[in-house]
């Protein structure tokens, strides 16, 4: 195995340090308690510190003797569109209702592929909307209104 500086390793370490650190800071705001009666902050503090330590170790090792050499391409369009679609779903499901939310989410996700044509995307989205309405609302009887209050119905 080739040993050299590795950007992904440093990135991974950085993520661990960042998240662990955030939890440590947050945990200090809660009561730590005593060993006998640990407060709500004690356990996250311990584990958060462990995550930071491990993150530092990973980043440090990545600077000298990394293992993942190449990060590979990032499908920016897919990342953006899928995140947007999922957030849209969560935000509007109660407000727009099942059918419009599903249709827009499906259309957005379909557009994540760089190769899709608009017409195909619309067809796929329509098909998925009908299918999921039948499966989830008609078949499984989820209690989500088909049309939400934003539509003024």
């Amino acid at each position: 195995m080739e040993r050299r500086r590795s950007f992904p390793d440093v990135l991974a370490g950085g993520i661990f340090v960042l998240i662990g650190g955030a939890f440590v800071v947050g945990a200090l705001g809660y009561e730590l308690g005593t060993p006998t009666r640990m407060g709500p902050g004690a356990f996250p503090l311990l584990v958060g510190a462990a995550v930071v330590a491990l993150g530092l170790a990973i980043a440090g090792k990545g600077l000298i003797a990394g293992e993942v050499i190449s990060f590979g391409p990032i499908p920016w369009r897919a990342v953006a569109v899928i995140v947007l679609a999922v957030l849209f779903f969560g935000f509007t499901i109660r407000r727009l209702g099942f059918v419009p939310t599903t249709a827009v989410t499906a259309l957005l996700t379909t557009l994540a592929s760089a190769r899709v044509r608009l017409l195909t995307a619309v067809a796929v989205a329509a098909g998925l909307t009908v299918a999921s309405t039948l499966i989830f609302v008609v078949g499984l009887q989820l209690r989500i209104p088909l049309w939400g209050p934003w539509l003024g119905l």
Binding site: P8, T36, P40, I82, I93
Partner: protein
């Protein structure tokens, strides 16, 4: 014979019409989704979990188990036919299975996988029925300190089995444990890390974590290099193996079953290890090792049996200790909890019909799989032609709807996006996602037992080393950690894994 009485109780539960029906539906759905390339058992179970919440607990768990081994099995079909394994354990099957398919022998490869899986499933179900009760009675003697050490042990063993570096796996586990602390503190009720959002008081839903890490992240990986998939799905003819084939698969199936049944109990990825080990063993003892990688039927039968046996025995730690051996079992824990049952050693006494019914249903499910797969192979082949452009929007949409339907909580849906991106970046950096999910599910158990043990011992931490069970487990955990970190052993392990690639 107590075992027979218990199995009789199990079968009388599992053979109820609605249970057989939903076992069938589960196996069918599991196979259908599992066959679809690029989606493994974890994402399948996470996606279909919400469907089962309105059922009776037994029926729901039977169906979930069916989805699980159905998906496991469906993945092998995909691996054989188009060389796209849904998860790592099927990667071994793809080696010789796909080679056989290219030589026009897809039929015998599929049949070997089906027969091997069936035999393995049957044997492993009996092993599960025999091993679970004694283990559960041992587990009942566990105090909080012992449980803490047990969970710690389980988490650390799961690193030793995972691929990739121990350091990263350890960090992923710790991160999972940390994320598991979001929500109200169990002892004081203090809301932690919730940013004043009432929706987060209940914590992050594990389904969101699973769907994000194993669904969204995987889809993003697949969208990195979009190519029109070469959908040359060979026609499957001559399903039945020749007499020569049948003779050659008997021993590998039996060895694979034994290996799988034993290794499946281990936390972390016993089934992956089992199929890799089985392949290595078959290759080593074969009289024709040069055929491996070029379409040796032993290389399909052995790993497939090992894989399936491990899938069944991985229920042992879940049903006896309440510990999930791998991500799907972590989802099963959630399913138990949704139905108001705490998984662990009490299930066997408190809910005998559920416990034995679930075990018996696994055997029924294996029969159904056999009946379903061989005759319906044409249908599965056709499913492989579904283009990815239709498939991935469906996965994301169903994941969002399913997750939302659990608690009607929009934050559960936002969490999918968060964990999708986090998982994607970390996977690209060489971190495996499975340890994070295990840590996430087991974290609360770890904290609860740590604090309870310290309350009982009046703050004296030596309780973890003075109680014999706890001390033994901690020593084992330490050994596992040393094994995982020691460079020489890691190198040898890397060789075992690399040999197959």
């Amino acid at each position: 014979m107590e075992l027979l009485d218990n199995l009789a109780l199990g079968f009388s539960t599992a053979l109820l019409v609605q249970n057989v029906l939903y076992c069938f539906v589960g196996v069918l759905l599991g196979t259908a989704v599992g066959v679809l390339p690029g989606i493994g058992p974890t994402a399948t179970v996470a996606m279909l979990l919400p469907i089962t919440f309105s059922f009776e607990p037994v029926t729901a768990l039977i169906m979930l188990a069916g989805i699980y081994y159905g998906a496991q099995y469906g993945g092998s079909t995909t691996a054989i036919l188009i060389n796209l394994p849904g998860e790592s354990s099927a990667a071994v099957t793809a080696l010789d299975g796909h080679e056989m398919a290219r030589q026009g022998r897809a039929g015998p490869a599929l049949a070997a996988a089906a027969i091997g899986s069936f035999v393995a499933g049957t044997v492993a179900t009996v092993a599960l029925a025999a091993a679970a009760p004694p283990l559960a009675s041992v587990a009942l003697k566990f105090g909080p300190a012992d449980y803490f050490s047990l969970v710690l042990f389980g988490l650390i063993v799961s690193i030793a089995l995972a691929r990739g570096t121990a350091l990263k796996a350890l960090a992923m586990i710790a991160l999972g444990v940390l994320l598991g602390t979001v929500g109200q503190d169990i002892y004081t009720g203090t809301p932690r890390f919730v940013f004043e959002q009432r929706e987060l008081y209940g914590g992050i839903d594990f389904v969101s974590v699973a769907v994000g890490l194993f669904g969204v992240a995987e889809i993003l990986r697949n969208l990195e290099n979009e190519q029109t998939r070469t959908a040359i799905v060979s026609k499957v003819t001559n399903l039945w193996p020749t007499r020569e084939d049948r003779r050659r698969i008997i021993a590998p199936i039996l060895r694979g079953t034994g290996l799988g049944a034993a290794l499946g109990v281990l936390p972390g990825g016993g089934h992956v290890l089992a199929s890799f080990t089985s392949y290595a063993v078959e290759k080593r003892i074969s009289k024709r090792p040069q055929e491996f990688g070029r379409g040796a039927i032993e290389g399909v039968a052995g790993p497939e049996s090992a894989n399936n046996a491990a899938a069944q025995t991985s229920f042992i730690p879940l049903l006896t200790l309440g510990l999930p051996a791998h991500p799907v079992m972590a989802l099963m824990i959630g399913a138990f909890i949704v139905h108001g049952i705490t998984p662990g050693p009490n299930v066997i006494n408190d809910e005998p019909a559920l416990f034995w019914g679930l075990i018996a249903s696994m055997w029924i499910g294996n029969v159904l799989l056999l009946l379903l797969n061989l005759p319906l192979i044409g249908l599965w082949v056709r499913m492989l032609r579904i283009p990815y452009q239709v498939l991935f929007p469906m996965i994301i949409l169903f994941a969002a709807i399913g997750t939302y339907s659990l608690n009607s909580n929009a934050y559960d849906v936002y969490a999918i996006a968060f964990f999708g991106i986090l998982g994607y970046v970390l996977i690209k950096c060489g971190c495996e996602p499975a340890p994070l999910l295990l840590g996430f599910v087991l974290g609360p158990l770890l904290e609860e037992n740590l604090r309870r043990a310290l309350i009982i011992s009046r703050g004296d931490p030596s309780v973890f080393v003075t109680r014999p069970i706890s001390a033994a487990l901690l020593v084992l955990a330490l050994v596992a950690l040393v094994v995982a970190v020691l460079p020489t052993i890691r190198q040898r392990r890397a060789v075992v894994f690399a040999e197959e690639e």
